[in-house]
Every structure is written in C-alpha cells, then in structure tokens.
C-alpha cells in the first residue's frame, strides 16, 4: 500500500516536470525527468530494504533446511510446510488466533466508541484525562505485559491481593490464584491486556473523527426534534465511519501481529496452549528455523488476505479515500 502512495506522488511530480522546461536540450531534459527519483528514491530504498528484502529472505528461508543454531544444511523443498501442517497443535493455534483478533478488536472498538464520546464532552479536568489515556499507549507494551504478569503473581500479585481482600480469592499460591498457569484464564487475562493497550489509539482515532463532524448538523437535528439516540445513529455513526474503519483495520493488523504481550506473560505456554500464530512462529524458531519461516509465510499471507477481504467488504475506496 505504501507503493501506492509514493507511486502517486512520483507520478504527479513527473507530469508537472516537463511542462515547465520544454525548451531544454535532450540530455538535460532526461536528467530533469530523473530528478523526481531523487525525492522518491530514499523512500523506495527504505521500502526495499525494510519491507521487500526481509520478505524475500523469509520466503527463501521457508524452503531451506537449517540446524537450530543457524547452519545451512541445504534446500528443503516443501518439507518445512509439510512439517508445519503436520504439527498437531497448528489447528488450535489458528483457532486461538481467530478468537484473539475478533475478541480483542471487537471489545476495543466497542469501548473506544464510548470513550471517544466521553472525551468529546467538555468536563473539568478533560485535558488531564486525555493525557492519562495516552499512558498505556506510550508505555512499552512489553513493560505493560511484565507489570500485569507481576500483578498476577499467585503469591504477591497486587491483583490477587485485591481479590483476596474482597473475598474472591480464597488462598494465595493456590491453583485459583495462578491465573497465568491455567491456559484458559491466562489467555483471557492476556486479552484484557491487549484491549488495555489498544484502547488509546482507537479512542484517539475516533475522537479525531468526532471532532470533524460539523456542529451545524447537530443543531439541525435538534431543531428537527431528533432524539439523542436517533442523532447518534443517523449523524454521528455514518460520519464517523471513515475514522472507525481506519482504526479497525490498523487494530486488526496490530492485534494479529501482537507478540510482546503473550511472550511477556506466558511465552505461549504451557506447550503451545496460549500461543497465537505469531508466538507459535517464534516458539518454532528455537528448534526448527525453516518451519518457523514457513509459519511466517502463512502469517504474512493471512494478514494480506484479511486486509484485502476487509477492504472489499467495507468498500474502502468509496468510504475513506
């Protein structure tokens, strides 16, 4: 998609270039025609080095055979993919990834709609509250994951101490207190953390969207005697749609690729029972580099497919551009 942007910028410069300098000699004209490259070049180089090259290496590695310590043993053909599809845990990992993305993004967007509305209203201390909302976003995600891991410690975790004080938790160090030891509860807690760190971005995106809606529309609605709910449904939601879609898409990609939360809290364990495909890929890397690269290729494909389907379904071109 970045290509589209730079491509468009390049094209416009190239079109306007020759118009101004029609009478120049041929050599200089050719040189002139090249000049846009000077401006676009760094961006293209960056994309080449940072996006295209790693993608190429990823595909190459997926068809090679490596020792766990990185020694190349020869081509592997489709064996890495075969091994990957024979992994007994692959299906459950894929399902879990689906649940992870749908629940985290769904809850995040729903909460953000409410939060954005709240922060759009004038109230004393709004500036401070808006700043505070940035905190989970500004803090390193890995750090947030560690803080939650400590807070959930079965013996000393502050969350467990609180739960004990209000009588929910009966005994420290018990199976009940060991939230991150049981795959189900660990996964639920990690989704909570993922929602927590995704909220600020979505809320700010929606808040920005809310502020672009002209006041006149609301005034007109009031004059027409529309109810609050009716105003929200017929004015706010439709006009918020572009901002909502942007936030939704970025969240889907971000949450799908999310690695530090799960790695920081459970390392995908026990076994692969709390791993999403991204974490699973990293777990495989420790023993099977080729197979891990094959998993990356699948991940890469999944992101692209999800994004394309999303763009198609939301008729992106009509809505946002």
């Amino acid at each position: 998609m970045a290509d589209v942007v730079t491509g468009r910028a390049g094209a416009t410069t190239a079109e306007t270039g020759p118009v101004h300098h029609r009478r120049q000699p041929r050599g200089r004209r050719a040189l002139r025609a090249m000049s846009p490259l000077l401006w676009v070049g760094p961006a293209i180089a960056l994309i080449g080095v940072v996006v295209l090259w790693p993608v190429y290496v990823m595909f190459k590695t997926a068809f090679q055979h490596f020792t766990p310590n990185g020694f190349y043993l020869g081509p592997a053909g489709w064996k890495n993919f075969k091994n990957l599809f024979n992994e007994p845990d692959l299906n459950s990992v894929l399902e879990r990834t689906g649940v992870w993305v749908v629940v985290v993004v769904g809850v995040t967007m729903a909460l953000s709609l409410g939060l954005a509305e709240l922060f759009n209203v004038r109230f004393p201390g709004r500036r401070v509250a808006r700043w505070a909302l940035i905190a989970p976003w500004a803090a390193s995600v890995l750090m947030t994951a560690f803080i939650f891991r400590w807070a959930l410690d079965p013996n000393y975790g502050v969350i467990n101490i609180f739960l004990h004080d209000i009588g929910v938790l009966k005994e420290f160090g018990s199976n009940q207190a060991d939230w991150l030891g049981r795959p189900d509860s660990a996964f639920a807690w990690m989704m909570v953390v993922a929602i927590f760190v995704s909220l600020p971005f979505s809320t700010y995106a929606l808040l920005a969207g809310l502020q672009t809606i002209p006041h006149e529309l609301y005034e007109a609605a009031r004059v027409d005697g529309a109810s609050k709910w009716r105003t929200y449904r017929s004015i706010t939601l439709p006009l918020l749609r572009p901002a909502f879609l942007v936030a939704l898409l970025i969240n889907v990609i971000n949450v799908f690729n999310s690695f530090p939360i799960i790695w920081g809290m459970t390392r995908g364990g026990p076994g692969y029972e709390t791993a999403t495909t991204t974490v699973f890929m990293f777990q495989l890397k420790q023993a099977f580099i080729g197979e891990s690269a094959a998993m990356s290729v699948i991940n890469f494909g999944l992101v692209i497919v999800v994004v394309l389907v999303f763009l198609k379904v939301t008729r992106w071109r009509d809505q946002v551009t």
Binding site: A2, V51, V57, V246, G269, Q286, A287
Partner: protein
C-alpha cells in the same frame, strides 16, 4: 482531509507489515568485531575471549574474574593481550548464535557448548589447543558429552551436580523426621507439608530447564533420554511414561506448586529460599540464593541424594559448561594454547568455584577441594554423574522437552513423549 487519512493508514499499514516481516527474519544485531592482531612468536597477539556471566550483579560479575586472569596472563606473556567480554546467561545462547551466524567468531568461548559448531568444522579439537597435561587433567566423565565423531572439541570448565534440597524447618513443623528416600516418601512428606499451608515439592517443568527436572525423575525409575550405549533414544520408554504419571499424580493431589508446566527453576529456587517450599531438586548454585534470602539459616536446610522409585539414586545429573576454541586464525593457535594451559590452573578453578558455588572440571582441582564441607557431597556424586545426550539433534530435542513436557501433567504423557522421540529419531 480524507486523502490524508488514506495516506496515513497506508503508511501505517506498511510499517506494520514491515515489522511483521522483520520479526520473521533472523536478528542481526550485537556481536563483537572480527579478529585483530596476529603473529605467533614475537609479534603481539590479541585474543578475543567471550564468556558467560555467572554473577548476580556488578559486584561478582565474571567480567572481573576473567579480567583478573587476563592481566595475570599478560604479565607472564607480555606479547599476548586477552580482550574479555562476558554476556549475561539469559542472552548468552542468542548472542553467541548471532555472532556465529554473522561469522564474528571469538577465539575462545566459555559457556554452553554447541555440538553443531564442531559438526560444521568451526572448532579446534581440544588436544590441539591444550598441553597433554592440561588435557588429561580434564574430568573424563564429561569427555563424551563434548565429543563429535570420536574427537573431543569442548572442554569442561565448570560443573555442577544435582541433589535434593529440603528445608529442615518445614520438615520439623510438619512432623517429618527423616529425609525422603523413595518416591513414596516424597509424596507422603509433600502431603504433610501441604497440610501446613506450604508447597510440598517444587517441580519446575517450565521452559527454563524442564529437561533437567524430568531427567532426574526418569533416572529414579531407571529411565533416561538414551540407553547406556548413548546411541539409542529411549525418550518414550515405559519407565519414563511411568515417571511422568507419578509426577502428574503428585500435581493432581496438590503436592506441588500449581501448574508446574509454567513454573521455572529460578522462581521456585527463590521460593525455596524464602521458606515456602519443602523440597526441591537443586545444585550448588541454589546455596547463594538461600544465603541471600536470609530466611533459612545454614542449619535450616540440607541436601541429600535424589530419591528414586525404590531408593536414593546412586547417580545424578551432572552438567558442565565448556570452553570451545574457534579456528579464527592459525597464527593464534600457540597463544591460545598458552592461555588455556594458564587458566586451567587449580588456583583459577577453585577461585571460580568459591565465587559462584560451582564445582571444578579438573581432577586436580577436585582433589584440592574434596575436604571442603560445602562441596564434598557434590564432588563425590560428580564422577558418577549422568550427562545429557551429545548428538547435534539434542538442542532441538531439548527445546521440545522444555516447551512440551509440562503438558504431560495434564495430558497423556505417552503421546507427548512419542512426539519428542520422533523429533529425536528424525535427526538434525
């Protein structure tokens, strides 16, 4: 306005894609510079040494230990300079792998030993970089572990053996008078300790070192990862399955900490030092943690041979960290040999062991330490110790055990061991 959003989202999406693509390619940061210096006889030589850091902080960092040796060595050999770099244990494997993948080999490395480096022809044979005296002084029990195709590459530098630690304080409170000798004892004692509100037995089956804890239980049932020939994998043997079944029985009865598959050795050792765990398998490295904790006095804990199914084990898991020497520059071989002969002297071995509560790796240093009250029991277990397999595929198998074996506490152990056995038999 809308156009801006579109451009923004396109850029954002591209950046995210880039991040996802990057994370799947290999890391390429870190590492030291290439070889410097050269020349054998009169010319100045610089050796790059990379070692693991065994310290718990700046005060007892291994950087100090090795810099001390390097300066002593330089005083004796003014034309050889040793540049020392130490790496925290948590990062050690990753950093070394990165250095080797980028072909930035150190000259001498101390820490984990990678059989596939020998397989790839990167290392000097041990005999080629030590004097016959130094070579024959290395503990023979660890030779096989460091051997590839009949030639020894890795040289043990520091070793460790496992025993069962238990808290006498907790035992007394629970009314237990004797040390456990059999699995049945362990289970009965753990149940009594649990009744006192403490954890009976600490069982670290998380990814940190699950391969050690499970092997100790396998040994107790005459099982193990390989048969005595060291050529046949026996990971899914009935003895091992039975051991895991017994362990999961203890877990289900609540005799261990909850969910052992997610608990790591480092954390449980600390909990033992805090007086919350009755029994745990440990090595001498647990001693300084107990001392730092200041909860258990020396009289409050002790260590005994590990209980097996029918009686205490006469063998235990012995582990060693090794020196490997990379073939960086043939002109450096003489200087490297001098350096190795120098740091394998007893005084440096015992200095290291006293600093970090580890065990020596040479016969003469063991003799020098044998009368020491702390080290004595471990030293007698050391020559009979059992080692991990030495095939290159072991590093793959080890990772699988670390990730998977904890699941045997909640799922069918046979199924999980079968999977690991398959990986081992496939080879690397």
């Amino acid at each position: 306005m809308k156009r801006h959003i579109a451009a923004g989202i396109a850029l954002g999406a591209a950046a995210i894609l880039a991040v996802s693509a990057c994370s799947s390619s290999k890391k390429s940061n870190g590492g030291t510079g290439g070889a410097t210096g050269g020349g054998g006889g009169g010319a100045a030589v610089t050796l790059n040494f990379v070692g693991a850091d065994y310290g718990t902080g700046p005060a007892n960092s291994s950087q100090k230990y090795w810099e001390g040796i390097a300066s002593d060595f330089h005083a004796n050999n003014p034309n050889i300079t040793v540049k020392v770099q130490t790496i925290n244990w948590n990062d050690f494997d990753n950093r070394i792998k990165t250095m080797v993948q980028n072909k930035q080999y150190p000259d001498v490395m101390e820490g984990d030993y990678f059989p596939d480096y020998a397989q790839a022809g990167l290392l000097y044979a041990a005999k080629d970089v030590t004097s016959p005296g130094t070579f024959s002084n290395l503990l023979p029990v660890f030779a096989k572990l460091n051997t590839y195709n009949g030639i020894q590459y890795g040289m043990p530098f520091t070793t460790s053996a496992r025993t069962l630690f238990y808290s006498k304080k907790i035992f007394q409170a629970a009314g237990i008078s004797a040390a456990p000798k059999t699995w049945a004892d362990v289970q009965a004692d753990a149940a009594k300790i649990k009744a006192q509100g403490k954890i009976g037995f600490g069982m670290p089956l998380g990814s940190e070192e699950a391969q050690a804890e499970s092997l100790l239980w396998f040994l107790g049932n005459d099982g193990g990862y390989q048969d005595s020939s060291g050529n046949t994998w026996t990971i899914n043997s009935s003895q091992n399955v039975e051991a895991l079944q017994f362990m999961s029985g203890m877990v289900k009865a609540g005799d261990t900490e909850p969910n052992p598959g997610t608990k790591n050795r480092t954390d449980l050792w600390k909990q033992f030092a805090q007086g919350q765990i009755g029994m745990i398998n440990g090595s001498p490295a647990l001693i300084p943690i107990i001392q730092d904790g200041k909860v258990l006095q020396t009289a409050d804990w002790t260590s005994v041979p590990i209980p097996g199914k029918n009686g205490p084990l006469d063998k235990t898991l012995g582990v060693c960290d090794n020196v490997s020497v990379f073939k960086t520059d043939p002109k450096k071989q003489v200087a490297i040999t001098k350096f190795l002969n120098f740091f394998y002297q007893d005084r440096y071995q015992t200095q290291f062991d006293r600093e970090y509560d580890l065990l020596p790796a040479t016969t003469s240093a063991i003799n020098a330490l044998s009368s020491d009250p702390t080290f004595g029991p471990f030293l007698s277990a050391l020559p009979k110790s059992v080692q991990y397999p030495n095939q290159p595929v072991w590093s793959t198998v080890k990772t699988q055990i670390q990730q998977q074996i904890g699941l045997a506490m909640t799922q069918d152990p046979k199924k999980i061991l079968d999977q690991i056995q398959q990986t081992a038999e496939k080879g690397s």
